[in-house]
Symmetry: C2
Subunit: 288 residues, 2 copies
């Protein structure tokens, strides 16, 4: 059973509409609070050679990326650390703090535990005015589809293109962009940590329309042969760019690098260059 | 280095006043939001024979206990699950949902990951009016010290008193009591998951006064010889009762079972029956 299969099981136990978005949505006075939690651990998520500082940075970046995808301003982060060796703690905490500071968030608490495998769980909170909240649901035929930056860079590093190691190991959550896009009136948004293809299918699952991308318009990782680069951009995991739909007249949005890659269509399919796009990418798998 | 030593290190990296309480405190309109995150994993936290339902229940209970200790009403819980075997997920999620429901909270989201050791991280959110917030700091000489129920039951089960297995495996977070005590005006509060002795030393660290308990007044686990029961009550971990101080005229508080066990004193010491209390209990230890 794969991760999305287990998610469907969870949808039978807790309110399924709670599972649609990158964050939970919580009332908070006149605002909405969004909250996301993400687990990362050594064997699955931290490539060899990563420094403790980078581990801490990444743990915070992935959850702030979820906050950004809702159009929210990042606020607070809690970090639970399952620590394998005590000497790693200082580097991890400084990395986490620095990522918070870069996004204008504050590291406000956490938990500390001994664990035989380094395991980090960050929880990110942010706030947004109700009228600026963006969800995965909301795309409309005629909207354009766009992304905030090059795709496939993290995967390119994993397959040996060392010039992209920094993008792999120090992902930049698009917090500024997410907030600006929420205010600009984009219609649907998510981050694409599991690859563009799976993300488009995630949007398909909660919208009553489809998504058609033109692979010739994908912003590709530099220094990689074009065919391989396109493959990485479609199916590679580990990028933390935002994927969004918007009425065409919303773009360009000042302050946001946005690459239009396709359009929202009435048919409930995901197409690449007019053909059905393969549904694959990064998924946790259980063999049990 | 032990857990509290590493906490001091963290206090050099993030604002140390953020580490004083069981929860972080976050502005939320006219209210305050409190947020806590707790990691539990198989080898350290789940005794043999525990069901998946109990694992899910406990993961939520420990974080709702933190929310309660601030005087806050429980609101939302996020649960990150590092899953060793897919067939465990349903039981865990139902246990988590049931614990939320029992406390009037809602399970609103989470994360799912494959992990070789079952690892759960729950994040609990709650809200409280600023005037009802209770922190660890705030005890005053002349206040009484009290707890919400018997101490040492979980540890009694761990050393073989099977009649207390339910208290060990299905801890009841004192959410109702925490909220009532906050409104009643108690002066300081925390939960005592690491044992009474360590908790009193935690209070000592952030207050300008001391704590004197009378071991003859401790509510003890039933069915255990008295000397052993007193030892378990002072030093045993795994209980999730609330420990609080309050001006004497605040007690009794309708709706809360409270056992007065001592008083707050001007001297910055922790005493049991007039003698310094040993500073020991449940601590995670790193051997690195």
């Amino acid at each position: 059973m794969d991760e999305r299969g287990l998610h469907r099981l969870i949808g039978t136990i807790i309110a399924p509409e709670r599972l649609e978005d990158d964050c939970a949505i919580i009332p908070c006075g006149d605002l909405l609070m969004v909250a996301s939690t993400d687990m990362l651990h050594e064997t699955t998520d931290f490539p060899a050679g990563m420094t403790d500082w980078q581990v801490g940075w990444m743990a915070v970046a992935v959850t702030l990326s979820d906050v950004a995808s809702m159009g929210a301003a990042p606020g607070q982060v809690l970090l639970a650390v399952g620590l394998d060796r005590p000497e790693r703690l200082a580097g991890i905490m400084v990395g986490a703090r620095d990522c918070c500071a870069a996004a204008g968030a504050e590291l406000v608490g956490g938990d500390l535990d001994a664990h035989r495998e380094l395991t980090l769980v960050s929880t990110g909170l942010g706030t947004v005015a109700p009228e600026h909240l963006v969800r995965r649901r909301g795309a409309r035929p005629g909207d354009v589809i766009a992304v905030t930056g090059p795709l496939g860079e993290a995967q390119a590093a994993l397959v040996g293109y060392d010039r992209h190691r920094k993008e792999l190991l120090e992902p930049q959550p698009r917090t500024k962009e997410g907030e600006i896009l929420g205010r600009a009136g984009v219609s649907a948004m998510m981050d694409i940590s599991d690859g563009l293809a799976l993300s488009l299918y995630d949007l398909l699952a909660v919208n009553d329309c489809g998504f058609s991308v033109d692979t010739g318009r994908l912003p590709l990782p530099a220094g990689v042969p074009e065919d391989e680069a396109r493959e990485l951009a479609l199916y590679g995991g580990g990028d933390f760019e935002l994927l969004f739909s918007a009425p065409p007249d919303v773009l360009p949005v000042p302050g946001v690098e946005a690459h239009v890659i396709g359009e929202v269509i009435p048919e409930r399919v995901v197409l690449a260059d007019g053909e059905p796009l393969e549904r694959r990418g990064y998924l946790h798998e259980w063999t049990g």
